[in-house]
Amino acid sequence: MRVGIPQGLFYVYYYPLWKTFFTDLGVEVLSTPPSNRKIIDQGIAHAVDETCFPVKVYFGHIAELCQEEMDYLFVPRFVSVERKHYICPKFMGVPDMVRASFTKLPPLLSPLVDLSRTDKHWRKEIMKVGRHFTWRGKKIEQAYQHGMEELERFRQLTRQGYSPPEALLVWEGKKLPLPGKGDLNIGVLGHGYALYDEAISMGLIKRLREMECNVYMVEMIEKSYIESRAATLPKRVFWTLGRKIAGSALYLHQQTDIDGLIYLACFGCGPDSLIGDLVKRNMQDKPYMMLTVDEHSGEAGINTRLEAFCDMLRRRRINSESNLPTYGQLLYSLQGSVEGP
């Protein structure tokens, strides 16, 4: 038995769980290589223009996988991973979108992950997936338990400073050194499936590290800090990832040793468009840059902006430029915001 798992969307958050679960049930797991140009082009061909880039890339991975022989394709329907919080409408419709966009598909395994009201049904969904491969309920339960343990081990690695894709490699047994120390501390925010996919974010994290920056990611911050900061917002952010991003931004904003923040947004992403603005308005005295990506491939543009941002941060330290306002104020006026009514 073979199950295909496309390397996109929540792969970066849950792969250890999925892989362990299926392997324990005696299933061979088939995955795609990290996103590349060919995969992206296939995705663009299959998805409608208006979807966000990560979903298009996901479609590309499915197209790539479909060239192989397999018994099932694993496309979970992520609605909510915790109470009263959602992921995003597109995630809720991903299996339907996949079914409508591809003509030749292996049968889909799409468990429903909806913990928004109750986690009662979740056990049943796991069983339903496991029953395709074994009839022993206990074995399925053990496989899931083992998967969760592995997931925890993976998350431990991200807390140490590995970026999630690096942590995945380490988790699989590769030896990787922890990233070296640089002189700038930069917080990097964004949805993980975009930020940590090198093809989508154009290697944002790698580039920053090459520019001698220490990169701080959401996964590295203590959960309780994020939650307590997120709770100060005027309204609970009802997207799980959005809440984490906003909470981390507020936390990093308070840390004096963080020099600046970069927010990687996807063009057309619903949560990003609002959370980006929310973060911007709360970021009054810390340099903050928003990068929006879509399927354009101008790496030079990204590089230039990153270099300029880092240069500016370094200069702020050494001379009087550190007095320049970071947001919402004219250089030559000392009071008020730029545009009054």
């Binding site: 998805a47 409608v48 208006e50 979807t51 329907r77 609605v79 009263k84 919080h85 959602y86 992921i87 995003c88 409408p89 597109k90 809720m92 419709g93 299996p95 339907d96 979108m97 079914r99 409508a100 966009s101 429903l112 917002l233 005027p234 309204k235 609970r236 952010v237 009802f238 997207w239 947004a265 063009f267 057309g268 992403c269 619903g270 949560p271 990003d272 468009s273 609002l274 980006g276 603005d277 929310l278 308005r281 929006t292 919402g328 008020g336 915001s337 545009e339 009054g340 009514p341």
Partner: protein
């Protein structure tokens, strides 16, 4: 949102509040909105920001806004808008009606803030009055959707329709409201209507705000009516209020049936009206409509899910579908051209089909 302002105005006026209506959506509204709102936000947020600025300029001091708990972006609109307007230096109160998250306390408190010392019984009769205005408006809207394509004096028909809305707005009692609506409908009927022709029938699907607010959809219903097409919308506000705010108490709801129709194309809730859009597409195809048009604000997440699925529906049921996205940059001429082209195509398909049948 569209003509619903008539009902809301009646409601708030009854509460002894002075109502400042934002001017109708114009180029300036959109320009203001897209200048201050986040770039990638969807159109309703931008339009609202523009509306609010224009209303604040006219001296409003309180903004009433609805909320929600996701996953659609609408739930977070009010907070973002407050941030934008406060940074611009306006001072105002914002009353946000949120569906209860933990308890009903907030909701009651906010209603008190708006309502002052009003009694429950009075409030109930106010609601009833506003509801009647809403129903009357919709009756008239449905009438114009039916008579406009059949009428030979289209400009005249539109004038009657607008006068009718005004009269409903002015009406002081429930009887008067319905009298105004019925009278206008009668006048529409009398305007040399050709009942012998069978106009093209198009189902208009999509996101609620874009469907209800003609200012954001370039008056698509009227445009289609002038082109001689009968339009049926998937969303009428009374249905929505009945389904979502009143738990289906006022009238029989078709929502369950429509959601069932969306299977197997969409099998789960996708936020917003994505699933309803697909459900109505199937429903309209079954009823023998000639074509479907899906509209929504650019980057609307639920509608994108629906858009991805609609070609499959179109293929299975044999009904042409077109999707139009609106943002602050679309121009009326472009929309007009695309609509005309779509309708020409439908017309041709229909006439060739009928010729085949005759032969």
């Amino acid at each position: 949102m569209g003509n619903s302002y008539i009902a809301f105005k009646a409601l708030l006026k009854g509460l002894d509040l002075e109502v400042i209506l934002p001017p109708p959506i114009t180029q300036r509204t959109l320009a203001l909105g897209s200048k201050y709102a986040p770039e990638c936000a969807c159109l309703p947020l931008k339009t609202n920001v523009g509306n609010f600025i224009e209303a604040l300029e006219l001296g409003a001091d309180t903004i009433v806004m609805a909320g929600g708990w996701g996953p659609c972006r609408f739930g977070y609109y009010a907070q973002i808008q407050r941030g934008i307007l406060e940074d611009l230096g306006y001072s105002f109160n914002m009353v946000v009606f949120e569906p209860p998250d933990t308890g009903f306390d907030d909701l009651i408190e906010q209603a008190r803030f708006l309502g002052g010392g009003i009694r429950f019984k009075e409030a109930l009769s106010l609601f009833k009055f506003a509801w009647n205005k809403l129903i009357a408006c919709e009756k008239l809207e449905k009438a114009i959707e039916f008579y406009l394509p059949r009428s030979e004096e289209k400009e005249q028909a539109l004038a009657v329709y607008r006068q009718g809305l005004q009269a409903i707005d002015m009406a002081e009692s429930r009887e008067e409201v319905h009298f105004c609506a019925d009278q206008s409908i009668q006048r529409l009927k009398n305007l040399s209507c050709r009942n012998d022709i069978q106009p093209l029938k198009i189902g208009l699907l999509g996101e609620i705000f874009t469907i209800l607010e003609p200012g954001t959809n370039y008056y698509i219903c009227e445009t289609l009516g002038l082109l001689g097409v009968e339009v049926k919308r998937s969303i009428y506000l009374t249905d929505w209020i009945n389904d979502h705010l009143l738990a289906g108490l006022v009238k029989k709801s078709r929502r369950k049936k429509i959601i069932k129709r969306a299977r197997p194309y969409i099998n789960y809730w996708v936020g917003g009206h994505g699933r309803e859009t697909v459900g109505y597409a199937v429903e309209y195809a079954r009823r023998g409509y000639d074509g479907l048009i899906q509209i929504g604000p650019l980057t609307c997440m639920p509608e994108i899910v629906a858009q991805t699925v609609l070609p499959r529906v179109s293929e299975d049921k044999g009904i042409p579908v077109m999707t139009l996205w609106f943002d602050e940059q679309s121009s009326a001429a472009g929309i007009q051209t695309r609509l005309e082209a779509f309708i020409d195509m439908l017309q041709r398909q229909k006439s060739s089909y009928s010729r085949e049948v005759e032969a």
